[in-house]
Symmetry: D2
Subunit: 342 residues, 4 copies
């Protein structure tokens, strides 16, 4: 029973198979191959718009390269205090942007809103003394398992654009969000005003494959140079692209996400029914944030369950995070819920 | 007939198979898995010494992270003027080191020697005005297809260490070098004084897998932080490690390199016998640098051959580079030589 | 009536005179001159310890260079949310450190305490995913006009050192602090555990002169290279050193600070007696933070007074900052207090 | 007899006097003062065009900030192999530009020409693998004491602009160049195609004052943010501006340069007449590069003369550099020449 991370699981068989298929023959290096071109075409279709697509191998690289393209070294980037870019990337965005300032904002359920930015904005409007407001970055599914609605995204985009800022979306769990929202990919991105998207695949079945997508190619500017200069341009690019290609074929990405989301919902509902248990946030993706009695936490761990404490125990309960993936055995979910309810 | 780069070819079947095997089950992320531990054990065995091993996905990342660990921002790094770090990585080392100075040195056959560094060293011994001599970086097989002997490496190491510098080896084609030299891996690295090695696998059969190896763990210092901060720590590390693991199993790495080297030798010998053709450098790895009559170059390209011009045509001949890989069809070599001789 | 900043006033006549005296003759460049040596000797005397002294020309340079010497690129630096390094330097520390993370902490009166750091420390103890706790930075006189006591500094130093961190003090108004505390310079710095001090002179009578002081020379490491590489090593160093030399001669630095502090106290006491006025913080240096009725604020500005609003008006009053300097005319203070009381 | 550097001498009395005059009263900080505005007006007059002017305190800062404004992190900057930015600034440009590549070019007399750049340009036109040609940087007076003519500058500018590059001029000794050329300041800068100029004053009589001048304000872009972020925005800016203001008043800058140039010419002519002496380069500014017999070098040093060896002794002679400044005593020149001829 491993619910510690969607990264703990391997890779989807369809994606593994695609690697073998891609291995044949001699093809141009560094992305000038047919598979890479096909990925761009697929994503342009999915987003109903010609998009600029740049495959990379980690979410940290995707986010940092996107932010470095959108923000000058003297820029301020507004994000949630618990966002991955602010807390889990060892200040990689500060490295890639050459010293931009990430401004951590509190916000319920992992979300930020225009009013949160507005409250601190005057601190960043003092000429050269303060970093210049440049980017708003949000995470979709948030780090607390909730999803921004198209209207919420649009409100942030409008606020950002009106002040000369751009909107970046960390979509490490973008497929889970789309599966939950049931809207078109375009509705929750460029139609709502998103300028750049870190489109994740690794957590949802790839071995290691993400794509940075710019909806306005002009904003991509010097992205390709930054990718090369940071060691993120793969010589045998076909193998990253092949993962993305298989991921986007026949709806695999949405099927995987739907499965993970369903398991998370089942976990959430099952646990919520147990005594002393309260969900901390609505389960809108594949993550469950739940307050469990400390005794229950011990019992579950003794039974072999893996998961993270999200906060230290308080009042006899611990806030834990449980993550379901495309490959989590359904039996594990059933067993976990039963153990909790016992 | 594709001789443009060893990157043009796909991946060895053994390595592809290993990915499938590694995909099963839930395992710890970020390198705390068994496969990654096994790679370190294998390399410690191969190098006859306990080594620190850090898998990454590109040679540029391997080189840049190694150099940033060895050189301060105000360091000078001495290397050949045609080295990959100096000419092919978009100044990635300068980015990772935060502004170190790469000092390009001319040297016959892609090699540098102590006397080449000595000649410019006074320029870098003027206190804080000049960058501080910190690292000597050499490439094994060099960018011109030649191999440093253990004695040559030892002489450089002695020179570097005596002046407070360390020695880095870019081993993008390390297996080809070892196959040519016929010595132990230790003889051409730490026994000769190498401090850090970029151990390449991508060009020789992996999809995308390199390892930075430190022979003295203390010198690795904060490598792991730098890898994370630059987006080069993979969550599903097992998939990079699985490539390296298969690469090192049953001598696959050396067999692949021996095959590529043999094809290159065959190319070199075949071409050298043709009229008007001269080898520019001895063929000691899987690269052939050869002066071909311009007419022959045109004829070969018209027949479908791919390769790079290394320098513009002069006196009716062009210096071209031909690269053989683990997967280059032998028939292509035969055909190419026949066309050249026709 | 200019109370907007201590930077608004010019330079002390003794310091101006010293520039003329220093201009004669040909002397070695870049700090190898006698005046610079004398400054180090003077500061070693004042701090009762042999110290390493590096003159620079701005507080931002002093702070950033000190922090870059103490923190690796992957370091976390704990500081007050309103500290100069966090809010007024356009993320210069992030630039000089190559991407360290400044962690802004709330704390009463501009001060932080061990418990404030302890509360967030677990977020920075997650291996390479989070920035590594490296430096605690405090400001003496704080940005809110209060002074750390030796005991408060010692408690922070003990906490920091026990966790492998160092303690930096931004002493842009160090003389004002010393004048208030009445202790020895050593008591509030290295005897209390401070590792590096940005020793300010600009705000207190110099044209532009600060000194970074390391109490343990070994910790200074590569400071000199960083200073040169960032363009902060002056060829005619004697002119910065001459300012510091005069500043430290015959107690000018403490006399200037005592004067500014006395004016600030007079301002604070005078205003506190006026109707509707409340001091926000005790006046322990040369800054006064005070809630003034909005009507009074308007009246004072109409009469020609210059000062900053520190926060927007709330409940009919505005928190303003008033700064007195070594050169503020006492009549201005008298007039301001009278106008407020009218 | 100190001919080691123009930095060895102090400051012009007119400039020292201006500091005292500027010290009075309370004025806005950070450059919003009248003196700073006056400097911009003066320079706009001198250059016969409205220019953007940014005072800083060192030549390294001026050059690095100008280059970082003109070049992206992935840019290539072409310069002479002996230029100050390439050899004397501890790779500061690489730090400020975040890793741009300085491309050192050989060229007679310290000058580069379009053909020198053209010869290496193909190495920088290989997509993202090589740094992108962005800036050509020349030094006026060159590091070898020669001056570019307007026609030479124009040819470089035309070459650069035609390839999407800009032209930067390091004018650490700009006044000396102008004095030699006898043309208008505009003729040798923007009329010849220069985009940005590091306008030096320190070597020619200031304590520490340079100005970065952009002839097209749009190209200045985010210069002000970069200056602040690197700690180079002075709070009491009036004291840098006052130096520049006095420097530009009543032709002081040109008078000082004319004096230094005349002394250098006298040195050069006097030495050239001595036995065994050869000038290495024409004396066009205030520097003399001359081959002196080793015996003569010893004799001069024994007599108390200070100067630098520019290259190690060869064939019994040493190439030395002698620099005259605005304040070098004429008697020292006379004595030096007499000693040489004795």
């Amino acid at each position: 029973m491993n619910f510690s991370s969607d990264n703990s699981y391997g890779a989807a068989p369809e994606i593994l198979a695609a690697l073998g298929a891609a291995a044949a023959g001699a093809v141009p290096s560094y992305g000038d191959d047919d598979v890479t071109a096909r990925v761009t075409a697929r994503l342009s279709g999915i987003f109903a718009r010609e998009v600029a697509v740049y495959p990379v191998i980690t979410g940290t690289a995707a986010n940092s390269l996107a932010l470095a393209t959108l923000s000058p070294p003297h820029g301020a980037i507004f994000c949630h205090a618990e966002s991955h870019i602010a807390t889990d990337e060892c200040a990689a965005p500060e490295f890639f942007t050459h010293g931009a300032k990430l401004v951590p904002l509190e916000g319920h359920g992992g979300k930020i809103a225009a009013k949160d930015i507005e409250a601190v904005l005057p601190n960043f409007q003092r000429g050269v003394h303060s970093s210049k407001p440049s980017v708003v970055s949000i995470t979709q599914i948030t780090e607390l398992g909730t999803a921004y609605t198209p209207a919420e995204v649009a409100a942030l985009a409008e606020f950002a654009h009106a002040r000369g800022m751009t909107l970046h979306m960390d979509g490490a769990r973008f497929a889970n969000a789309l599966s939950h929202l049931g809207c078109d990919a375009a509705d929750i991105t460029w139609r709502a005003g998103v300028d750049a998207l870190s489109f994740g695949a690794t957590k949802n079945g790839a071995l290691g494959a993400e794509a940075v997508i710019f909806f306005d190619k002009d904003k991509a500017a010097d992205f390709e140079y930054r990718r090369k200069k940071s060691g993120h341009l793969l010589s045998k690019m076909r193998f990253i692209s092949a993962q993305l290609d298989a991921y986007l074929t026949d709806g695999l990405w949405l099927a995987n996400a739907a499965r993970a989301n369903a398991l998370a919902r089942k976990l959430g509902e099952g646990l919520a029914a147990a005594k002393g248990v309260t969900l901390a946030h609505p389960v809108e993706g594949n993550q469950v944030f739940v307050h469990l009695p400390d005794q229950m936490v011990r019992r579950l761990r003794e039974a072999g369950a893996h998961f993270y404490d999200w906060a230290p125990s308080a009042d006899g309960r611990t806030l834990v995070r449980l993550v379901a993936s495309f490959a989590t055995p359904e039996a594990d979910v059933t067993q976990f819920v039963e153990l909790a309810g016992a």
